[in-house]
Amino acid sequence: MSAAEPPREYRLLGGRIPYVEGPLKVTGRAEYTDDIKRPGMLVGGLLRSPWPHARLRAVDVTKARAMPGVYAVLTGDRYPTPFGVLPITHDETAIAVGKARYIGDIVAAVAASDERTAEAALAAIRVEVDPLPEYADPQMGLGPVAEPIHARGLAGSNIQKEVVQHFGDVDAAFALARHAIRVRGNFAGVTHGFTEPMATIAEATPDGRLTVWSATQVPHYLHRALSEVLGIPMHRIRVIKPEVGGGFGGKSDPLPHEIVCAALALETGRPVKIRFDREDVFLTNHGRHPTQNEVRIAADAEGKILAYDIQAVIDGGAWSSFGTVTTYYNGVLAMGPYRVPNFRYRGRRVYTNKPPSGAMRAHGGTNIRYSVEVALDELAEAVGVDPFDLRARNALPPHSTTVNEFRITSTSFRACLAASRSKSGWDGKFRKLPYGEGIGLGAGFYISGSNSPIHFTPKMPQCTVHLKVDMDGGIAVHCMQADIGQGSNTLLAAIVAEVVGADLERVHVIRVDSDVSPVDLGSYSSRVTFMMGNAARRAAEDLKGQLLRAASELTGHPVDQLVVGHERIEVRHRPDRSVSFLEALHKAMEKVGALTATGAYSSPPMGGTFKGARAGTAPAYSFAAYVAQVRVDAETGVFQVDHVWAAFDCGRVLNRLAVEGQIEGSVHMGLGQLMGESMNYRTTRLMNPSLLEYKILAPQQMPKVDCLLVGEDDPEGPFGAKEAGEGPLVATLPAVANALYDAVGVRFYDLPITPDKVVKGIEERRRSGRAWKGE
């Protein structure tokens, strides 16, 4: 919690606004997909491949089809059209066609009267296969392989995407450098761990329409994928997003089971539900990629950065998913928060026979940020300068351009550094705490919305918001933005209420339903506050204009003499002369009936013209400087993070409760990856597909988190705001790693940092004869 809250200029925005659907959630009345039942609903079941890589010779479903209570059995040949979240890498099918690519790949599906019958039917399906070579290690897929996982692999290899970029002259910079630091990192895969398992319901009706309820964070892309694969025009498909129990990126791809569910509904004419168990969730994954990287940093005598030279090999698993973006991000998201005059990157994402990796909170930025920040800590030590001073010396200035042509507008990175340095008491602690205790700094940088939408045909805004107000005075807000717990419904309502002067309870955010919600591209790349916020503000300004014109007629004062007050419109400097919200509304309705208003947002053109120039361009960026304080038990290697000072620049804070919630949740998730979360594989078999074996941090392990919100208004953000959903994660991990170094004098390059690694690290340091802090 932050102590002093700055004075506000707005009635609602900037305060602590409780989430509008909170009362439903705390009473169990919020409706999630699995809470919905439709009359005559069938149970959908999926047969998953037990083989990591196998050619499907025959999938015999005759017995299953004949079983009583079985309504449909599907195999891959029925809907073989490939899809994927990125239009350029459609390499998934709803059900495996030709071969199975990982343990968990869907090879057949059934719809049955109940769960038991579905299970029995799945057990009755006979699959004959020819096993194929299994590829577990991405390094083994870099050259030609006997049986590429996908035909589209680069030159007979398993490389899904290779990115090579060079800006400036990196070799010349290294030749001139006084300091050259090199770190190599190895990062285990981690997964989202949202509490709500995926679920989908689909219903095809005799009017030729298909309705799909799904736990998705990107309803629009699901809408498109359903249409493409099923061959049904989009206007005959209705996608509804009920409440979603967390996403963090894991519900952002259109997923095969969603399409299978719809296909089963089409086959049977009955509603069908597919509900995942926790193992299904783990096997579907799309979490953070296992990654190996190398970061070289060249710097001058004062520690000014001269060049970055970065390489990454990224384990993609069986499909592309967001992988092309991931491959770019593992390089280009190192572009901030510092000025990097020369930059070279080679990234390769490689298919393996594992559950697909995809987008997870702070997608593409987390691992590279970790390596860079650890390397900078080493650089500060080599230069002999305080880590804060080193970072301040290199900070990107506001309104500047990076070497790869990212447009930087607002940045309060320096203010972040100042805040976490003073609040943490850094100067009295760094290298001064007793052995076993330490303090560390890590910095963050993340996109506030991706400038380029994934789909750009047809050309349309990234977000549209519609308002409808009838004589009852309730303001209905329609928008396909996906609240998955981050509070976007609340922000949407608050922005509208703020602009038109209404009470928050007057505004109703209507559940996402493609029949009525205008397109928003969904909850990914931390785009919602920025893009939806701007669209909402414009829609509300439109409505406000209509109300002001009506009030002008009523009061006889021209519009420019009128101002919006709380639930009323007032004549400026004449508070006695005012009309109520309803009076103005009813006047405005006289000729047109219910009012409608609309607003949209498209990000401005930006970025270079070279190949891949758009990757990482954003209308704004968030910045962070976190300090973590840790205590290490040097005997057992167990450590506790006691305190995190999270200085964050999200521009203007619109909902303090939500921003703090995002930071606290991000710290928790980041610490999880740092302290132990890991998708453990024996070759390609996931060994810990449960929350018992895949450990998420318990409340005892949470540090105290101080949210230091120091951002200045962004020139283009809604009311000056930027993102706070993903950026808050990235700085957490390196801050803790650097604190561990301060505590015990050991560098950790690989994640997670488990106690055994800490013990081993301390032993190695001692063996090398290096003492630490008078130990």
Binding site: L24, V26, A30, K37, T195, V244, G246, R278, G487, G661
Partner: protein
């Protein structure tokens, strides 16, 4: 076929032709449409399915429905009257302790039982009480704050 299961749920006597292997969570969600109780893992690891049996927080995904025979089961639907909220629920809303909300009914059941038994718990007692409930969104910070606030009469 055994005799129908007799159990009280949220104060109402229920008779259900419940098979012996029926899990309490399935009885509640699937048979009785009490969907406020959530299914997060089916394995006793997340706490989303927490209900009370005779007032004691219990994981309904690990409980056979038959084991509640003759006892009182309370779910999230049964702890606050009508359209109202109890102190814990109000504090959860006010403090932002619910983000995606999927874990929330479980936390509310755990916290409400805690405050019933220990109206003024220490922070450590709160942390211990909720350590069987998992939240991926909040980092628990605001959940703990909400329980503290409810314990002090909603003024903190």
């Amino acid at each position: 076929m055994s005799a129908p299961l007799k159990v009280r749920i949220n104060g109402q006597p229920i008779e259900s032709p419940c098979p012996d292997e029926r899990i309490l969570l399935d009885l509640l969600r699937e048979d009785l449409n009490l969907t406020g109780t959530k299914r997060g893992c089916d394995l006793g690891t997340c706490g989303c399915c927490t209900v009370w049996i005779d007032g004691r927080p219990t994981l309904s995904c690990l409980t056979l429905a038959r084991s509640a025979e003759g006892r009182e089961v309370t779910t999230i639907e049964g702890i606050s009257p009508g359209t109202g909220m109890n102190d814990v629920q109000r504090a959860f809303v006010e403090k932002g302790a619910t983000q995606c909300g999927f874990c929330t009914p479980g936390f509310v059941m755990t916290a409400t039982a805690l405050l019933r038994d220990r109206p003024h718990p220490s922070r450590e007692e709160i942390v211990r009480a909720i350590s069987g409930n998992l939240c991926r969104c909040t980092g628990y910070t605001k959940i703990i704050e909400a329980v503290e606030s409810a314990a002090s009469g909603g003024t903190s």
